[in-house]
Each structure stands twice: as structure tokens, then as C-alpha cells.
């Protein structure tokens, strides 16, 4: 059973650094399996955190040395090229433990900050969400996994045939590529979706989070994390026992206490495999451009 938790600087805390370090170190000691840089809204939805997650993630993976670490990202306001580039580096520098969770939630706050041009009717939002993910992944596909050669003797640095322009044209995003960053060690960093944020998407997630009543609608093959608070813990443990969930995402003011007490009897899974994707038994994504298909 996996244990997951989110982390952020609480509202009102001006320079929340000391608190963030304390929380992080407690989470590391308790060995969470997933840590999500996100804030909790009421009703159990997640939203991008107060601290910008993509920049915080590389720092925090120096203190959180085993878990998958996910950045919650405003899906309607982020730019595929920047996200693809940053998460490529984050995946390399965390040995394949980087993940991302695009979210619709928090949109109002970002609409105001990004300006009027970013406002989008709710009916259109799922399409932009999916296009954002597809465009970002298209850029990761601009490099084959084995493009780098790096042979100082011969002077061969990479195989030019394994890097290409992808010329992605979606309804909201257009991007040429290639990315100026190599394909991440996981192929694609793990994709998380909050089913309470967006129940159905044309893009399947690797890991889903959901309240108990939505869990059954998880994408096929995804790792399923059920959201729990102290009040719902017993019922949710039942879901895991019955094979309806693969782990718990701990929420509420007592989430960290819950993690610590659960860890006194929940043994962390044996971690085999070089990247988070391998550890979780998830398939490596296929690069449609790659000669060998699977590379």
C-alpha cells in the first residue's frame, strides 16, 4: 500500500521556509511514497500550491530521497515548452522520480494574475488540459531515449537521426521542437490526475487521486490513490484491502501525523527498478518517432 501526502506553505505564512523544511524532513523520515507539491482546497480538491512547484521540486528532491515527487501545475496557464524543459532536467536530477499533476483548480487566481487573455469557459477547459499534456509530451518525443552517445574518443556526441522537429499543432498549443533537453529518464515523467478536478480526460494518467466515490472511474492500469482524512481512514483502508485502491493520499490538518502513525505498521514496498515508473510497474511510454518504437 502506497502512502501519499501533499506539501505547501500555509496561507498567511509570509516566509514559510522554516516550516517547509520541517514538514519535508518529517515526511522523509516517515518515508512517503508520493509527495505532491500542491495545496488542499476545501472538499478535498487539490490546487497548485503557494510556492511555485516546478522550481521547488528539484530542491525538495534533495531532501526527499526516495518518493516520487509531483509538481501541481496550472494546466490552463502553463507553457508546454517550459514545462517539458524543466521536468526533463528535474527527472534527470532526481534519478527518474519526477511527476506532474496538471490541474484546472485554482484557475480564477491564475486568470487574474495572467491576464484576461487566459480566461476560458469551463466547457472548453478539459480540451485545453488535454492539449497541454499532449503538446508537452510531443516535445519529450522530439528526442529518442538513446539519442546521446557521448564518446569523447570518436567525438560522437549524439545521433542526429534521433532528434527531430515534431511540429505539434493542437487546438490551443503549437510547438515545433525539438526540445533543448533530452528525453527524461522515465520517458515521460509520471502523470498524475485528480479525478475530483477532472474526472475524464482523453489523456490517461499514470497515477490518479480520487475521493472514494470516484475511485472506480480511474484510468485503466493507473495506480489508484484514495483521498483520506482522519475521519475516513478506516473505510479507506477497507478499499485498499479489497483491491479497489492501491494506496492512500492523506489529507487534512493531521495528514502528517497520520503518515507517521500509518508508517509504524505499513511497510514501504520494495523498490526495484531505476526510475519511479519501473518501481510502480508502469509501462515506459512509446515514442512514436523512434525507429525501434519502444525506445
Amino acid at each position: 500500500m502506497y502512502l501519499s501526502i501533499s506539501i505547501d506553505v500555509p496561507d498567511g505564512d509570509k516566509n514559510g521556509f522554516a516550516g517547509l523544511v520541517r514538514q519535508t524532513d518529517r515526511i522523509e523520515k516517515a518515508k512517503a511514497d508520493f509527495v505532491i507539491l500542491a495545496r488542499e482546497l476545501s472538499k478535498g480538491r487539490l490546487a497548485p500550491g503557494r510556492v511555485e512547484a516546478v522550481v521547488t521540486l528539484p530542491w525538495i528532491t534533495g531532501r526527499l530521497v526516495t518518493p516520487v515527487v509531483a509538481a501541481a501545475i496550472p494546466a490552463l496557464h502553463s507553457v508546454p515548452f517550459h514545462i517539458a524543459r524543466a521536468l526533463s532536467a528535474a527527472d534527470f536530477l532526481s534519478s527518474g522520480r519526477a511527476a506532474w499533476m496538471p490541474l484546472l483548480a485554482g484557475g480564477e487566481r491564475f486568470d487574474n494574475a495572467y491576464g484576461a487573455g487566459y480566461r476560458l469557459a469551463s466547457a472548453e477547459q478539459p480540451a485545453k488540459y488535454a492539449d497541454f499534456i499532449r503538446a508537452t509530451r510531443a516535445l519529450w518525443d522530439s528526442w529518442d531515449q538513446d539519442a546521446l552517445i557521448i564518446n569523447p574518443g570518436s567525438g560522437a556526441y549524439l545521433d542526429s537521426a534521433k532528434v527531430r522537429r515534431v511540429d505539434y499543432r493542437g487546438p490551443y498549443f503549437t510547438t515545433m521542437g525539438p526540445l533543448n533537453a533530452a528525453r527524461p529518464p522515465q520517458g515521460y515523467p509520471l502523470l498524475l490526475r485528480d479525478l475530483d478536478d477532472l474526472l475524464h480526460s482523453g489523456v490517461a494518467a499514470d497515477v490518479v487521486l480520487a475521493s472514494p466515490d470516484r475511485l472506480a472511474q480511474a484510468d485503466k492500469g493507473a495506480v489508484r490513490l484514495v483521498k483520506v482524512t482522519v475521519e475516513t481512514l478506516d473505510a479507506s483502508l477497507g478499499l485498499v484491502r479489497d483491491g479497489k485502491a492501491d494506496g492512500l493520499h492523506l489529507m487534512g490538518a493531521n495528514a502528517l501525523d497520520m503518515l507517521e502513525s500509518l508508517r509504524s505498521w505499513v511497510v514501504p514496498p520494495p523498490y526495484l527498478g531505476a526510475t519511479a515508473r519501473e518501481r510502480l510497474g508502469l509501462r515506459r511510454p512509446i515514442n512514436p518517432h523512434s525507429q525501434k518504437g519502444a525506445a
Binding site: 506553505v9 496561507d11 505564512d13 509570509k14 516566509n15 514559510g16 521556509f17 517547509l20 503557494r50 510556492v51 511555485e52 512547484a53 516546478v54 522550481v55 521547488t56 521540486l57 528539484p58 530542491w59 525538495i60 534533495g62 531532501r63 496557464h77 507553457v79 515548452f81 517550459h82 524543459r85 524543466a86 526533463s88 532536467a89 534527470f92 536530477l93 532526481s94 487566481r109 491564475f110 487574474n112 494574475a113 495572467y114 491576464g115 484576461a116 552517445i149 557521448i150 569523447p152 567525438g155 560522437a156 556526441y157 549524439l158 542526429s160 532528434v163 527531430r164 522537429r165 498549443f173 503549437t174 510547438t175 515545433m176 521542437g177 525539438p178 526540445l179 533543448n180 533537453a181 533530452a182
Partner: protein, 428 residues
């Protein structure tokens, strides 16, 4: 405070593999390590121990793939600068962390939030090298057909920085007399800021590298430190005088701006050894690599033509991705004289990016730095190690103690924020 901080400021401008395009092939280079966390942690600790002001990573918004072909011999592992600096923040206590970010293909909200995060995880050590993006292929990655014209890019840059300033001031609970104008102007229409946590040094130190009149005006209005190429003392002094004059014109104290010319270097325990190493750098950049290097600079794939043949100038000018006028000016003499592609490219790759290159002993480098400072040609140097990590290690071990013994460089940090290290005042 300025005294104990020393008269000489050092910044480390780190490309993944160092300055020389052939450097990744050196026997003691570590080209695979640039994809690993430990490498960046090691480098960061070195620079932090050596009392540099800051580490800087450049950034580009396009792959290097002139005419659709990514070079096979040119090492181009430039990882995202925010990511690298965030990792480095975790293992250092003092050194500043400067990310290059474009104002052309970003929004103020996102950039303000990212720098707030870097400032927080480093507790006040973030800096922003503000660029406007010059590569003609960059717009294609953002769904735009062409670059904005330069004066518009700098106009947007000014408005962008003003808007970001409002975000940072709001987060820190500071008033901003220009709040309305910062949020609503011809580039932006912003209704609210983001309540991200803030940190000591409420915003990043602002850094720029403008050379054109628009770029220099922007730098003189905005920057607290400026990078420039300066091949000679005279060029350095002219540039510094010009920026200081422009700053006065904008009502700023010119002492609030550090001028930091780029300086690449190769060190040896004797001059001969240093020369040998430099020769090796040039030799490792073989013809194939040099041809790819020029290809990248003009946006045209020269590997399609025989290396020993002449430049097909008309075809190049018709198809190149960089402005054809610039490319013609650059290649016409070679095309007219019938110089081979390989010969021209070899000469071109000897002096990458027009920066000054020092080759010699630690004593000679310390002398040179002191001479430039005494002549008022600069406030310090943006150092570009010839290849990594060896040349940086040599500099820290052998040049830093000399500079400290001469009283030029601080022996220990006098504060904890990047702005403390600059010692140029509290910011705008």
C-alpha cells in the same frame, strides 16, 4: 561593508561542459556527469567556498537544430537553469543563483512566482539575467511565426519587469507607487497578483546584458549587474562609462550597477602548459564539430556540402534561418576568396561567442584582473571556465587565494543574500 567585500566581484557563468566547443572531449572532462545531481552539487560547493558572488546559467528557447538537423559532435546539454539552481540552493549557504529567463515568451505571473520560489529555497540568493531572446527559431516553439522586432522586445521587457516588481512587492507587503501602471499597460492587463511566500531580498537581483542602444538603455534603467563582452581594457572602459552615463540620465546612482565582462580562461602551472591545453581545446574541436558550430550560428546545415569546398553563398542566404543580411556579411569574404568551409569554420570556432579568452598561469590571471579593476574597466568578471569541471577547480584552488591575498576578493561572505554580495545598495 563594500571594503570587506573586496573590489573584485566574481560570477561563474556555467555552461554544462564549459566554454570551448571541443572541451567535452578532454581526457579529464566529465560530459556524462552533467546529467547528474552530484555534478551540480560539487560545482556549487566549489564556487560557494571560493566566495564568488554568484553562479549563472544561460538559457535558450530553442533546440540547436539548424535547418532541422541537430549536431552530432557539438555537445549541447543545457539543462533548465531554474532546475539546476534549485538543486544548488540545497547544498550551499551563500552563493547567489542567477537564472537567465526571457521576457518575450513568458508571462510576468509565472516568472515572478518562479523567482519567488528560487528566492525562498535559497533564502534570498536569487538573481535574474533578463534576456529578450534573439534566436529566429525560438518563436516556433511558442506558436509564433517570427520574433518581435528588437525595440518592441525591449519595450515589453521593461513593462514585464515592472509588472513582476508589483507581484514581488505585493507578496512582501510593500507599497508600490507604480502599481496600476505596472499591471495595466500596453503589454499586460493583470487583475491580481499571487500570494506566494516571500524571502529575504524581496525580489531577485536584476542582471542584463544589453549591447544595442535599446538594450543598453534597458540595462541602465533596470540592472544591478551587467554582462558584456569586452575584448580589451579600452572596450571595457568605454562600455562601463557609457552605461554609467546612461544610468545617470535615468536618475540612477551609477555605483549601483556592477559591470561584469565575460572572461573565458585556460590555466596552466606554466605558460607553456596553459598554451598546450589551449591547443588541445582547439584540436579537439575537429572539422566536423567546427562546421556544425558555424551551422548553428547561421541556421543553415553546412554538413550538406563538401568540407573542402567553398561556401555556396547564394543558396545559404536564400535558406538560412538567421537574417540573411548578417549571414552574407559574415561569409561573403570567405566565399569570394574561395576559402574552404572547413578552414573558415576552424578559425570561427577558435573564438567562441566573441568573449575575451585568457590563457596562462594563475599569477598572470590575477595580474590581469587587478589591472582591469585598477583601470576602471569593470567591477569584476563573469568567468567562463574553458572546460568543466577542471578549469573551475583550478581557478578556485589557485587563483582565488591569490586574489584574496591581494585584498581584491573577500575571504568570507559579508552577508547572506545575493544583494549583500553585490554591495550596491538595497535595490530600486
Amino acid at each position: 561593508m563594500s571594503r570587506e567585500n573586496g573590489r573584485l566581484h566574481l560570477w561563474a557563468f556555467l555552461q554544462g561542459i564549459g566554454f570551448f566547443p571541443g572541451g567535452w572531449r578532454a581526457p579529464d572532462a566529465s560530459p556524462r556527469a552533467v546529467f547528474q545531481r552530484e555534478y551540480y552539487e560539487h560545482v556549487a560547493r566549489l564556487v560557494d567556498d571560493a566566495c564568488f558572488d554568484a553562479i549563472v546559467f544561460g538559457d535558450q528557447l530553442q533546440g540547436r537544430d539548424a535547418a532541422g538537423r541537430t549536431p552530432s559532435r557539438l555537445a549541447i546539454p543545457t539543462l533548465d537553469p531554474f532546475t539546476l539552481l534549485s538543486v544548488m540552493a540545497g547544498v550551499t549557504r551563500h552563493v547567489g543563483l542567477v537564472a537567465t529567463v526571457s521576457t518575450t515568451y513568458n508571462e510576468p505571473a509565472e516568472v515572478a512566482a518562479k523567482f519567488a520560489a528560487l528566492n525562498m529555497v535559497s533564502q534570498g540568493r536569487a538573481g535574474w539575467n533578463i534576456v529578450t531572446t534573439v534566436h529566429p527559431n525560438s518563436p516556433w516553439n511558442f506558436g509564433a511565426p517570427d520574433l518581435l522586432e528588437k525595440s518592441l522586445r525591449y519595450d515589453r521587457a521593461k513593462a514585464f519587469v515592472d509588472a513582476a516588481e508589483v507581484f514581488w512587492r505585493d507578496a512582501a507587503g510593500m507599497d508600490d507607487p507604480h502599481r496600476q501602471a505596472g499591471l495595466h499597460n500596453r503589454w499586460f492587463d493583470i487583475d491580481g497578483t499571487l500570494d506566494f511566500p516571500t524571502a529575504p531580498q524581496y525580489r531577485p537581483v536584476l542582471v542584463q546584458a544589453g549591447q544595442s542602444p535599446d538594450g543598453r538603455n534597458f540595462a541602465a534603467q533596470t540592472a544591478e549587474a551587467i554582462f558584456c563582452p569586452a575584448p580589451t581594457i579600452e572596450a571595457g572602459r568605454d562600455y562601463r562609462d557609457d552605461i554609467r552615463e546612461r544610468a545617470r540620465g535615468f536618475g540612477r546612482d551609477p555605483d549601483g550597477i556592477l559591470i561584469m565582462p565575460g572572461l573565458a580562461f585556460i590555466l596552466g602551472s606554466t605558460e607553456e602548459e596553459a598554451q598546450r591545453k589551449h591547443a588541445l581545446m582547439l584540436e579537439l574541436a575537429d572539422d566536423g564539430l567546427c562546421i556544425e558550430y558555424l551551422s548553428e550560428s547561421i541556421g543553415y546545415d553546412l554538413t550538406r556540402h563538401p568540407a573542402e569546398g567553398p561556401f555556396p553563398l547564394e543558396q545559404i542566404c536564400a535558406e538560412c534561418e538567421f537574417p540573411a543580411g548578417d549571414v552574407r556579411r559574415m561569409l561573403a569574404p570567405a566565399a569570394e576568396s574561395g576559402q574552404s568551409i572547413a578552414d573558415f569554420c576552424r578559425a570561427y570556432a577558435r573564438k567562441p561567442r566573441g568573449h575575451a579568452i585568457f590563457v596562462g598561469t594563475p599569477d598572470q590571471l590575477a595580474d590581469r584582473m587587478e589591472t582591469w579593476i585598477d583601470a576602471g574597466a569593470c567591477d569584476g568578471f563573469t568567468l567562463q571556465p574553458g572546460y568543466m569541471p577542471t578549469e573551475l577547480e583550478l581557478f578556485c584552488a589557485h587563483v582565488v587565494p591569490l586574489l584574496q591575498a591581494r585584498g581584491l576578493l573577500r575571504r568570507q561572505y559579508q552577508g547572506t543574500t545575493l544583494r549583500d554580495h553585490l554591495a550596491v545598495g538595497a535595490g530600486a
